[in-house]
């Protein structure tokens, strides 16, 4: 009996964890919503990841298809996918509220790691600069990139901060979220990894927009930033300036830089163009990619590999899968009635979206080359696991719907007019959020 009791206690404890209910009275099955929009994210994640494994194999192996073995990077990537999937399940099952409670310690830990990376005294056996950036720590068999996990911690912290507040609807109220973003952005910029740090700003903006911040405040900030940007140019490192110059030259149609600063970008565009509408056969694509010597082709430039292999159609499929993921995350946010879940879904969605846009943009030559991976597709454990953790968190939000009575969140009756407004009508999705208060 004690044993049974103990078992019952364990089950209850687990149920409490999954349901997020301290009381543990509600059965797990009753509180979960297994049919939800987050499955779109799962489908998209899987599709992108498998496409990525194939693309990495194409990028790394010249040998014609038909050989059973995957390239070693592709095989490792497959392992990362499986690890990522497991991680996603582990994150999806417990209530996201728990993740929320862990957010602040996690962010502090991440910041600690980021500072650790920057300490010059740390031996290069642990922090080996890659491409000039101190962004990886070599721990165990898998190198670990703290900035990846920082993204999730950041989303959780902002979500926790915003969930019951309305201060962000004033200009001054934007200061605290800004400061929360400024610390990791600053540290990651110092690595220097301008690519990753640049993702935090759109993510923060997306979360603020979703949380009802006034658009004119945000617009004002964007305007000020745009005006101040030229002043920041001298602060950039030489290679960063060079990339901006390269970008400008490219827009001017100057191809003289194809051998140096624009080599990577122009090679990627050439391979994308060579893909045509329907792409090339496996062997042809491998040959073209190999001898065109595209740098980082299994990594940042993997999109070029996919388009070369599968053409315009392949590129659209990739865009479509990201669209699916984003739609899944936004629908999950829309269906969620809990402010924390809403902001988490929107924040993660913004990260995936921004990262995909920046990466594809630099592949097709509309954005400068900044080292940034294509989520789910590019080679790399940290990136893959982080991406799957995001999918898992969105799934967690979808699996754990808030229970009535609903407390309306971010439902202001004006979008951007003066005054605080009152909680008002909410035209929810599927008629589920038709709560009227006051």
């Amino acid at each position: 009996m004690t044993l049974l009791d103990r078992d019952a206690g364990l089950v209850q404890a687990a149920a409490a964890l999954v349901s997020g209910s301290e009381s543990g009275k509600t059965p797990v099955s009753a509180s979960l919503a297994p049919i939800n929009a987050a499955w779109l994210c799962v489908v998209a994640s899987l599709g992108l990841a498998l496409l990525g494994v194939h693309a990495i194999d194409v990028a790394q192996q010249l040998e014609p298809a038909g050989r059973a073995d995957l390239a070693s990077e592709a095989a490792r990537q497959l392992v990362f996918v499986i690890i990522g999937l497991i991680a996603a399940v582990l994150v999806a099952l417990p209530h996201y509220k728990i993740a929320g409670y862990l957010a602040w310690p996690a962010l502090v830990g991440c910041i600690g790691l980021l500072v650790f990376l920057l300490v010059p005294a740390v031996p290069t056996s642990i922090v080996a600069p890659r491409n000039g950036a101190r962004a990886w720590s070599d721990v165990g068999p898998i190198d670990f990139q703290p900035s990846e996990v920082t993204k999730i911690a950041f989303v959780l912290v902002v979500a926790m901060y915003l969930r019951f507040r309305r201060k962000h609807r004033t200009l001054r109220g934007l200061v605290v979220p800004g400061l929360i973003a400024a610390v990791p952005v600053g540290l990651i910029t110092l690595q220097p990894d301008l690519g990753t740090s640049s993702l935090f700003v759109p993510a923060l903006f997306a979360m603020l927009i979703a949380a009802g911040a006034k658009l004119r405040h945000l617009g004002l900030i964007v305007l000020c930033a745009a005006l101040a940007a030229p002043a920041a140019y001298p602060l950039l490192k030489d290679h960063q300036k060079e990339r901006l110059v390269a970008m400008v030259l490219q827009f001017q149609g100057d191809t003289s830089t194809a051998g140096d600063i624009n080599y990577q970008s122009l090679t990627a565009q050439r391979l994308i163009g060579a893909g045509g509408a329907g792409g090339h056969e496996d062997a042809t694509a491998r040959t073209l990619i190999h001898y065109n010597r595209l740098p980082e082709r299994h990594n940042d430039m993997v999109f070029a590999v996919i388009v070369n292999r599968f053409g315009f159609v392949g590129g659209l499929v990739v865009l479509g899968l990201y669209g699916l993921w984003i739609a899944g995350a936004l629908l999950t946010a829309g269906a969620c009635r809990d402010p924390l879940g809403r902001i988490i879904a929107v924040g993660l969605c913004a990260f995936v979206f921004a990262q995909a846009v920046v990466n594809i943009g630099m592949n097709i030559g509309v954005l400068p080359i900044i080292g940034i991976t294509l989520p789910f597709v590019s080679y790399g454990g940290s990136s893959m696991v982080t991406s799957w953790l995001m999918t898992g968190l969105v799934m967690s939000v979808a699996l754990h719907p808030a229970r009535p009575p609903y407390r309306p969140s971010f439902e202001y009756d004006d979008d951007d007019r003066g005054g605080d407004g009152a909680y008002g009508k909410s035209a929810g999705f599927g008629g589920r959020a038709l709560t009227r208060v006051g």
């Binding site: 997306a206 927009i209 979703a210 009802g212 565009q269 050439r270 391979l271 994308i272 163009g273 060579a274 893909g275 045509g276 509408a277 040959t287 073209l288 001898y291 065109n292 010597r293 388009v307 053409g311 315009f312 590129g315 659209l316 865009l319 990201y322 669209g323 984003i326 739609a327 936004l330 946010a333 829309g334 809403r342 929107v346 969605c349 913004a350 979206f353 846009v357 594809i360 943009g361 097709i364 030559g365 509309v366 969140s409 971010f410 439902e411 202001y412 009756d413 004006d414 979008d415 008002g424 909410s426 035209a427 929810g428 999705f429 959020a433």
Partner: protein
Amino acid sequence: MFHRRLVLLGGLGLCAFSLLGAQLANLTLLGHDEALAEAEVRLTRTSWLPTARGSILDRTGRVLAEDRPGYEFRVEYRVLTGEWAQREGERAARRLHAGSWGDLPEATREAMVAQAVRRFDAHVNAMWDRVAATAGVERAEIEANIADVVERVERMHRRVSDRQFEKLVREQRATGALLSSEEAQRLRALADRPIAEQRRRHAVLSGIDAPRAFELIRLGERSLPLFGPQFIASSGGLAGIPADNPAALERRTPLLPESEVAASAERVHPFQSLEVTLDRSTFPRPIARETPITLTIDDVAMSIVGAVREGVQAEDTQARRELLEARGDLRTRALTPRGTDRGRYRPGDRVGRTGIEGAMEGDLRGMRGTRTVDLRTGERTGLDPSPGRDVRLTIDAALQARVRAIMDPAAGLTTVHDWHDNETLATGTHLYGAAVVLDVQTSEILAMVSTPTVPSDGDWSRLGLVTGEQVDLFTRLFNPQINRAVGKPYPPGSIAKAMVLAGATERGLYTPGERIPATGHLLPDRPDLYRSWIYKMYGITHADQLGRDPDGVDAMMVSANVFFYTLGRRLGPEGIESVYREFGVGEAPGLGIGPEWPGRVGTIDTQQTLGSHDAILMGIGQGPVTWTPLHAANAYASIARGGVFMPPTLVRTGRAPEARELALGSRTVEDLLEGLRLAVTDNNYGTGVSIDFEDGGPRGEIFNVPGVVVYGKTGTATAPSVLIDPDGDGPAERVTALSGDHSWFVVLAGDEGGAPRYAVAVVVDYAGSGGRVSGPVCNQILHALVHEGYLRGEPGDRIERGELTERQP
């Protein structure tokens, strides 16, 4: 509101994706063909193969300038020391037994490595045999070169390493620490690091000619499996253990590992310096000797051949582009299938700078070969290099050297002698000038000499000039950088009388046979103006001399000034100008070897129009008219051709030059030739027959070449003085350095009983009388033409008869 915000975010996302999709469509759908073509280009790799510059030959095929030695065979230093074989052997042994290497006993592994190293050593050994056989040299030569290279590099390494070690020790001592033997060893090892010379390729064979070099290049593209079936059959594998890695057995090693064939050509001039022996027995009596004189002639034809420079300038690239645009034939040969110019300039290339090297750069320049390797299949395609085209000059180097010797003051003909009656220069003064020998039939230039010349090695002491001031003064006085044969304006003097007579007859202003009264001066009331030379010197007229008024033939024979003043007056300014122009004055020959004087009728001041005074003076080749020895020779050649003007040429292109008919009647030509013949043969009246040496002896014949018919005309042309400022501090104190008359002689010569075949023009600056100075020079040039087989001989004898010995520089 939250959901509206979500829609807003979703909308923003959709916009961004649409933009990405649009650019993606732009690249893949619109830019597809171009991008694919560009991407496919990278599936091949093209490398360039060296080539050689064409040679410059004289008309008989003597090489005046060529690329030699052509190519070097360079090999990585590691191969020379055996280090390469050692390392490759170790690798091969490990590779062959990739599966079991770790399990093999140490001794077996060592035996295997030693065996594999021996295999590579033998391969390197075979490489030297192959290279020696292909390059056509003794194996010992290669080995000696290798020993030299290794010795030199080792020495260099020791020196660098010692210096480095000392520096390290000094630094160590400076820290105050004691130097333990262990530490010393560490520093030694640090200092012993290989130097750059040990990491690059060294020439083990140079001076390889183009065909052999290309053979070596082809050999270098081949490879063989060192541990293939043959090796297995003979040895059963390394240390008797069969290999367990089939891929390693098939691995091929190049026949000539770590090596390359590189162009290293230098431009050499085999006939640059020649010894010429002159027979002085035919010289004018006072300087005739029974013993011949041997002179060393430097820089033979160098001012014609010109020079190359290393290093490409922007204008070279531009010139090349323009050349390809202009010449379709060259373009077809030069462009690769992908449209790259195989002859385009790359840094360090040699470029023709002056002379024919510069003028014929497009032809002389070679085209590189290409090797395109398909990276997928390893298949090689491409074009073999094609050496530049040879340029064959019309110059005969032996004749050129001989004429140079004749014009050399050391030979005695171009120094002032008492019997020259030179009024301005002291006896013994060196005289400079120019000579041109032209083939009448083709207008090809056989020899073109100008003295003095700038020594190509900068050694002025050969000219007796030691100090910088001497060189400076000499340069200002004599302008050695100018090719006098084509680049210096000379007043024609009396030699132009033939042209004036031809022109006046052609225009109907003179009828053959007409006798013009020979007064002492043209204007009856002005005995001080337009005088006849015989009146000026002896107070008589040609009528007194001849017993008749001269007709055209007589006038040519006695050089009757009044006769030609009269023709000048009849022709008038415009008429006489057109006569000179007909004979080429005003046309630069366009030889391309440097500055040319086109010839000029009229004053420098273009405002001043020619008057009848000018026309009269130009009747005797004075007044406002200038030309060059080349003009003179070609004008006479045009008469010898029966009135056909052809521009002179310096390069044999196989194309006939464009001829121009001068419409001279046959009677005119006959009269002219007769007058010219009598001028140099009529003992009584000819102006260019003999010289009074004023030594009490008989007059000496100017021309003494048996079996050769000579037609000629003397000219003594009043020349502008050369004023210099000796201390160089302003124009006020300028003094006359050179003044007097230029000495001209132009002859046509042919074998007895035949037509004139060669035209020779000689001018000697400020030498005075044409007959006394230029006449004997002309005579010796005719001897030279005989000597070289041009006159009185079969053309085939020419080269054999030349007694030229090549002097090694």
